[in-house]
């Protein structure tokens, strides 16, 4: 289904941040997704941030069962789900309690007044009803008896109370759609397909959606009716893509581009599971998604598949990456393509599985025995996940070495518009396939890249053995000679170093030199970019550089750094990239800004920090 939208002019709000929150059973993720998809289809740029609890279904109304979905929509390119909420939707007291702190006075609050029963109030720790005790006076409170209205709308439907209750989120969505001038079409159609085989449920949801919409239209209470006009995104054919889906698709694209089959060995773990959940859908695209018995088997099967000529990929999150270290070392040693995707989550140990964090960088770089360099790259937004998954595969195949792609729960679960790429739009991937068995040994290398020539089973005359023991520089036979080991160790390091010739230069957003360079990596891109842009718009000199490539660093990194007086490295960890910088660029001076709360940076805290540095003028 493709729609054509022209940008319709409007002089309303230029961007809008909404957070839907409720019980994990309230369907807030779906509601939020619908709202953002609809907005994207209407031409807005969007950025989303789901934030869900560790429990599958926590008891109804409990604090730790609160599930949230935040979306920013805009008429300009945006890069983060925003942090100043315009609207907070709270389906019950627990959701209100958990989220009200993020709503500034004067902003709008939409609640289901039916959910503020004594029982639920108590469960969430309220002594009196905030809808009545005046404590919400600072907000534009819109209290709607959504539960009752939903039940009423469905009076004539032959369904039990529980089933009816479940469509309440559509009532909420109907209200919100009216508030922000969104079309119902997309969601109506979505329901059409989703419940194709359950016509009763389909009709009920569609009816409730319209009922909410009409209710809002008719009700005087709703005073503000904003409309966000389409964004100035590049023209073209779009779709909404989630980060983990984008990773999956990037891998599929790379395999097809390289004319290989994609072998994906994985073991479920939050938040990486979604990549596996996505890839299992595509056997028809020659995707072999193999759910292994554990992480070690997952990465090992991927290595085996690479040895036999597939594009071997594995995915995991922090604790799983810890288990894969030894096998990654093997892949590095035998110099085979292998892509490892690590969707980071809050650590250490089991940590905070559903929260986001950037604390696996050092593990990615060093979590193996011996001198074991591999390529490390990072994705910085949901749609960028596509590019970097493709890129990880490209580098791995072209350089015959493992590539570790860092993503995180924030961008993996987030979604945004993606300008559709077809195979012909993507760069070529050059495989180093051995040609001539006479002049070949397993470690025959390209003079420039130091990449060895690949020979896979089935290629006559290329029979050979590889393994984890040190091997002779030329023949590849097991070899324990001291100087050979030193030579091989250096070759392995140099091979990865030279990847810098095959990756783009580091880009600086904003001024190319000046008082302050903000540096980040991974999922903080949107927040850092936006904060810097806004500061520039306020007339200050500030620049932002984002490291998508971490090992090796882009060639021009030192040059970029040297053009700025202060370099501030912002990370959602205790300072991991900055550690790398300090050891790799020992003559330079780095300061750091860290947040370790399982949450993304907010625009406000970043701007505060940046401004305070800019205004101090000190050489830090």
């Amino acid at each position: 289904m493709q729609k054509e939208l022209s940008k319709r002019p409007s002089n309303d709000l230029s961007n809008l941040v909404i957070r839907f929150s409720g019980d994990s059973g309230d369907g807030m993720q779906l509601t939020g997704m619908q709202f953002s998809d609809t907005s994207a289809m209407m031409g807005n740029d969007i950025a989303t941030f789901p934030n869900y609890p560790a429990e599958i279904r926590a008891p109804q109304g409990s604090k730790y069962g609160v599930s949230g979905f935040q979306v920013q929509i805009s008429d300009k390119d945006i890069f983060s789900p925003g942090d100043e909420l315009d609207l907070l939707v709270a389906m019950n007291p627990a959701a209100l309690k958990a989220n009200i702190g993020d709503l500034a006075p004067g902003k709008t609050l939409l609640v289901d007044s039916d959910a503020f029963s004594e029982k639920f109030l108590k469960k969430s720790g309220y002594r009196s009803n905030p809808l009545e005790d005046g404590s919400l006076d600072a907000y534009r409170l819109i209290a709607v008896p959504m539960t009752k209205n939903t039940q009423k709308a469905l009076e004539d439907f032959d369904m039990d109370r529980k089933a009816k209750f479940r469509s309440k989120n559509m009532y909420t969505l109907g209200i919100v759609y009216w508030m922000y001038g969104r079309d119902l079409d997309h969601t109506i159609e979505f329901l059409e397909q989703k419940f194709e085989k359950k016509p009763l449920i389909k009709e009920a949801n569609q009816l409730v959606l319209r009922a909410g919409n009409i209710y809002a239209q008719n009700l005087e209470l709703i005073a503000t009716h904003y409309q966000v006009r389409p964004a100035s995104l590049e023209k073209g054919h779009y779709r909404i893509i989630r980060g983990s889906q984008a990773i999956a698709w990037g891998l599929v694209a790379a395999a097809q581009k390289a004319e290989m089959e994609l072998f994906f060995g994985s073991y479920p773990i939050t938040p990486a599971s979604d990549i596996l959940n996505e890839l299992v859908k595509y056997p028809e695209l020659s995707v072999k998604a193999f759910q292994a018995e554990d992480e070690i088997a997952a990465v090992s099967s991927a290595i085996g598949s690479s040895f036999a000529g597939d594009l071997g990929v594995t995915s995991t999150s922090g604790p799983g990456l810890a288990l894969k270290g030894e096998a990654i070392g093997l892949a590095m040693m035998i110099e085979l393509p292998l892509v490892i995707i690590n969707a980071q989550r809050g650590g250490p140990s089991t940590g905070m599985p559903t929260k986001t964090e950037q604390s696996d960088l050092l593990q990615a770089l060093y979590g193996r025995n011996g001198e074991s360099p591999i390529i490390v790259v990072a994705a910085h937004s949901p749609s960028h996940c596509f590019d970097m998954a493709f890129e990880a595969a490209r580098l791995s195949i072209e350089h015959m070495t493992p590539v570790l792609l860092l993503s995180d729960g924030f961008i993996g679960n987030g979604s945004e518009p993606w300008l559709i790429k077809k195979l012909e739009d993507l760069p070529t991937i050059r495989k180093n396939v051995a040609q001539d068995p006479e002049n070949w040994t397993p470690y025959t290398r390209d003079k420039d890249t130091l990449v060895r020539q690949w020979a896979v089973p089935g290629m006559k005359g290329f029979e050979h053995r590889v393994g984890g023991l040190e091997k002779h520089e030329k023949t590849g036979n097991v070899n324990m000679v001291p100087l050979n080991h030193e030579a091989m160790t250096k070759i392995r390091a140099e091979k990865v170093k030279r990847v810098e010739n095959n990756i783009p230069a580091l880009r600086v957003h904003g001024v190319q030199s000046g008082p302050l360079l903000v540096v980040g990596w991974g999922g903080t891109f949107g927040a850092l970019f936006t904060a810097c842009k806004e500061i520039r718009e306020e007339g200050q000199e500030i620049a932002h550089a984002h490291f998508d490539y971490i090992n090796p660093f882009p060639k021009n990194s030192a040059e970029v750094f040297s053009a700025f007086k202060t370099i501030l490295v912002c990370e959602l960890n205790a300072g991991q990239l900055v550690k790398q910088f300090r050891s790799s660029f020992p003559k330079m001076n780095f300061i750091q800004y860290n947040k370790i709360q399982g949450l993304p940076f907010t625009n406000g805290e970043l701007k505060n920090k940046f401004m305070s540095i800019l205004s101090s003028g000190e050489d830090l």
């Binding site: 089973p457 006559k460 984890g468």
Partner: protein
């Protein structure tokens, strides 16, 4: 196979010097493999050996095929990846009792459960050879080893019984000094579609000398070992007069001609019986030890199911590519 190649065992030897201790049964197994390979009708370039780590796991270096000497315990999932990447390959997994039953135990049971089409040779010497003599999960209770100076306190696995518990479809056992029998078994394992597990009672003269003497010794063997053949009676003994009968739920050894026992009383071996009860009982016998192919039951392999599902979806999808994927579902144009 379009082209027929005539290999000899010499074609199967790589140029690497073999580095096991003098007298190690590993040499015999290597020779058996090198002699079996020319008989399986596969080209050298279509054969892959995957091993873990251990003395036994040096094996791939010595065979002139593709091979990988990987990491400890992980031969099974690596071999799984190889086979799924290219189902046409003949894939051999080489492993020791430590490699497959200690650190690799999980992969061992899962590879059998899935019935990946591999030939698995388990070099069971009831000891960790490479690390110089610690007890393994198959070492005997009370055995004195480097890490059990006062006697091993860990009751051993019976490798075959564990395999049965994991739903092994093919299980064979053989003496480590029986070149001929091994050769035959290896060829039969390759013919079998699915995980074919062959346990070799492998003598390690350095750290566990004589562990299998009672079974492997040429003189004692006729009375201590029963080499099964499908559809043949379970008869053994230097005088071919001993046999196995079923008494209730127990196996018993009887002597033909004594107490009125006649040859017809002896159990007939049926390797293809899907119910594993009798096979499991045989696997656990110790007097005599049962060798040969104890179980060989055809079932879909994991490749049949997994690659089969892929191929079915592919033909139904009619050449769908990535370009179709990206425009499927909801998309929109911005102008």
């Amino acid at each position: 196979m379009s082209e027929t190649i005539q290999y000899t065992h010499k074609d199967m030897a790589s140029d690497q010097e073999v580095r096991w201790c003098p007298g190690c049964d590993d040499y015999v197994i290597l020779r058996a493999v090198q002699r079996a390979l020319p008989k399986i009708g596969k080209k050298r370039e279509d054969i892959v050996f995957i091993s873990g780590i251990g003395c036994s796991s040096r094996f791939p270096y010595y065979v002139e095929t593709f091979g990988m000497h990987s990491i400890h315990g992980r031969a099974a999932p690596i071999a799984t990846g190889v086979k799924l990447a290219n189902p046409d390959l003949s894939v051999w997994m080489i492993s020791g009792d430590g490699d497959s039953l200690a650190i690799g135990g999980n992969h061992f049971i899962h590879v059998l459960r899935r019935n990946i089409d591999l030939n698995i040779i388990l070099f069971n010497n009831e000891i960790y050879g490479l690390t110089k003599g610690q007890f393994s999960p198959t070492s005997k209770l009370d055995q004195i080893t480097k890490t059990s100076p006062y006697g091993n306190t860990q009751p051993p696995f019976n490798a075959g019984a564990l395999a049965m518990g994991a739903n092994a479809r093919f299980f064979a056992r053989v003496s480590g000094n029986s070149l001929k029998e091994m050769q035959t078994l290896f060829v039969q394992a390759e013919k079998f579609r699915g995980s074919a597990l062959i346990e070799v009672m492998q003598n390690c003269p350095i750290f566990n000398e004589g562990a299998f003497d009672v079974y492997n010794d040429r003189a004692q063997r006729p009375n201590t070992q029963l080499f099964l053949e499908h559809a043949k009676p379970m008869i053994f003994g230097a005088e071919k007069n001993k046999g196995i009968v079923l008494k209730g739920l127990k196996l018993e050894v009887v002597t033909i001609g004594e107490n009125g026992v006649v040859e017809e009383d002896i159990l007939i071996h049926d390797a293809h019986e899907p119910d594993p009860t009798l096979h499991t009982m045989l696997v656990k016998l110790v007097n005599p030890i049962i060798t040969g192919i104890i179980r060989s039951v055809d079932e879909l392999t994991f490749g049949d199911r997994f690659i089969g599902q892929m191929n079915a979806r592919k033909s139904a999808a009619n050449g769908k590519t990535f370009n179709d994927l990206v425009v499927s579902g909801e998309t929109y144009y911005l102008k």
